[in-house]
């Protein structure tokens, strides 16, 4: 057999392998896409039965047809209202400090930076343990909305900080120089030049982080309650439940009917998440036009 024959025979085999793996890779990608569809279809199919106006306006009940999600929805809204400003202040504050106020080569900057990177990898349930020990017990906030919100703030802070840092870094250095050249102090520069142009990016990161907080279950189980919560929280120190806890509660029950109620709850949760993400896109578009 001469070389040319060998080559063309090998070539055919190589091309065959190539084609096979093309399909393998495409198939793998397709599986991911299909899984999302199956998951959504499964939940909608199960969830449609109990999803109506009554479901949104009722408190949990022992009877699946009377069970509702009002207290959980209220708890989640409370959580968002408390978590959003807290993470905004601390997250953006930290990001501004690291990017604008101390040099990047500074040892403290590096320490804080490494620390944030490590915190981002800590499992959420560990934050639950921290919240339980510090906010619920030590600061005696009890199993309250406030304790939950503070725990969630710590949990999503690394995400917000990293997003805000990226947004701040994308502001051209020349804009800062211009501001300094006009005699502005560091804070004036940050306040009037850097912050406004970084805001759209910061907001997008913020909202994505808050939607993570909306969906987190494990730490909230440690802080919140799994029992019946048949009222909406009136102040930050009230007992509470949130959507994911309520869904977990329903899923964990043995009766099949409650599984369908859980699916309805999931539809509501996904709708809330979709709404927050839509808000992120809207805000970004609006601010981008302005600046």
């Amino acid at each position: 057999m001469n070389n040319r024959d060998y080559f063309s025979r090998r070539l055919a085999a190589r091309k065959r392998t190539d084609k096979i793996f093309h399909f393998v890779f495409m198939g793998a990608t397709g599986i991911g896409m299909a899984l999302l569809l199956v998951l959504l279809a499964d939940i909608c199919k199960e969830g449609i039965k109990y999803l109506d106006g009554q479901f949104l306006t009722s408190f949990p009940s022992r009877f699946p047809e009377r069970a509702g999600i009002k207290s959980a929805l209220a708890g989640t809204l409370w959580l968002i209202t408390l978590v959003a400003p807290l993470t905004f202040v601390f997250g953006v504050g930290t990001a501004l400090f690291l990017e604008e106020f101390i040099p990047r080569k500074n040892i403290w900057n590096k320490i804080i930076q490494t620390n944030i990177a490590n915190l981002a990898g800590v499992p959420s349930i560990i934050y639950g343990i921290l919240g339980l020990a510090v906010f619920v017990r030590m600061l005696a906030l009890g199993r309250s909305v406030l304790a939950g919100a503070l725990t969630m703030t710590l949990l999503i802070l690394p995400i917000v900080i990293v997003a805000a840092q990226e947004a701040i870094r994308s502001v051209p250095v020349s804009m800062r120089h211009a501001s300094f050249a006009l005699g502005a102090t560091r804070w004036q520069t940050v306040r009037h030049v850097v912050f406004p142009s970084a805001l759209p990016g910061i907001l997008t990161g913020m909202i994505l982080a808050v939607s993570r907080a909306i969906g987190e279950t494990a730490p909230m189980i440690m802080i919140g309650s799994m029992a019946f919560v048949a009222f909406t929280p009136r102040n930050p120190l009230d007992y509470f439940t949130v959507l994911p806890i309520q869904i977990f509660n329903w899923t964990a029950r043995p009766q099949d009917a409650f599984r369908e109620v859980a699916a309805s709850g999931i539809v509501v949760l996904l709708a809330v998440l979709l709404a927050t993400n839509a808000l992120a896109v809207l805000l970004r578009n609006r601010y981008q036009k302005k600046s």
Binding site: L39, I43, V122, T251
Partner: protein
């Protein structure tokens, strides 16, 4: 955009104004320093809370018994505090998840970076992001109500709560992470390297498998480690679908309990404050924290030590 006040000469010469400005700068600096210290305090808080409650636990139970004991039964008498069954449950879930997520995620990443058209990529990436953004409790529900019944048809003897269903779904959950991070590192490889492979007559698969993947290996490895670390810390899916019976087994068809699921179980049961059951929560939490910390550091070492920076 806010308009700056136009400064007059006085603003730069009046000592009072300068002093006030300086004081304001200092205040802002201190306030921002306070913000930045929150994240450091969080770490200190985590380590201290875990340590403070773990120490009394190890006064009652020896470290050796905890780490090598093969029976975990803190809620029954006689109590047993061997963490191996829980660690084994976590290992089983992580292995199953890895078998599902690593090949699937890497294949998706290769397809996206080497094969897919721009248009297709614009469809696939948001889908991956959506999958990554779905709350874990939803995945847990999916595992219990969809995957488990499916598995029951394949393995008739399988327990309703089993490691396989939980592991598969944890795999689905971490798959987008593997795909996105691996794709990032594949696209970071310069185009010229890919072109060189094609110029030598390689097929697409040869280019992907023998040139691109090896070039991006450190990033791909890091994505694997980070994803597995997520699987170790994953809580809701395993709590809902994998059961609550700590067992030293590698049979995925059985009901098991992971470290995370145990923590949830205890916190649901309202163990009395200060009791040894309450302390186990922190001991197990400490072990979990150390596991994930080591994994995350490992990921960083892999990227730093073996990463090639292309310019």
């Amino acid at each position: 955009m806010a308009v700056l006040k136009v400064p007059t000469t006085r603003d730069f010469t009046d000592r009072k104004i300068i002093k006030r400005r300086n004081r304001k700068e200092l205040t802002v600096f201190l306030l921002l320093l306070l913000c930045a210290s929150v994240s450091v305090l969080t770490t200190i808080g985590i380590v201290t809370t875990l340590a403070v409650e773990t120490v009394p636990f190890f006064q009652k139970v020896s470290v050796i018994e905890f780490l090598t004991g093969t029976k975990w039964a803190p809620l029954f008498t006689p109590q047993h505090f061997g963490v191996l069954p829980l660690a084994c449950g976590t290992l089983l879930i992580t292995l199953t998840a890895g078998i599902v997520a690593l090949p699937l995620g890497l294949a998706t990443a290769i397809y996206l970076s080497e094969y897919a058209s721009d248009r297709l990529r614009r469809v696939v990436k948001p889908v991956l992001e959506t999958l990554a953004g779905i709350p874990t409790v939803v995945y847990g529900y999916f595992a219990l109500t969809f995957v488990t019944p499916l598995l029951q048809k394949i393995f008739p003897g399988i327990n309703i709560f089993n490691a396989l269903s939980g592991g598969i779904v944890v795999g689905i959950m971490i798959m987008p992470m593997v795909a996105t991070l691996s794709e990032d590192s594949l696209t970071a490889v310069p185009y010229s390297i890919r072109e060189a492979a094609y110029a030598l007559g390689s097929t697409r698969f040869e280019t992907a498998g023998r040139v691109m993947v090896p070039s991006a290996l450190s990033g791909i490895m890091a994505s694997f480690i980070l994803a597995l670390s997520r699987a170790i810390g994953e809580t809701m899916i395993v709590t809902i679908a994998a059961g609550a019976t700590p067992k030293l087994t590698l049979n995925p068809l059985e009901s098991i309990q992971t470290m995370t699921a145990y923590i949830v179980q205890i916190s649901l049961g309202d163990a009395p404050y200060g009791s040894i059951e309450y302390n186990t929560l922190f001991a197990v939490g400490m072990l979990l924290f150390l596991f994930t910390l080591v994994m995350n550091i490992l990921a960083k070492v892999v990227t730093r030590r073996y990463g090639v920076i292309y310019q």
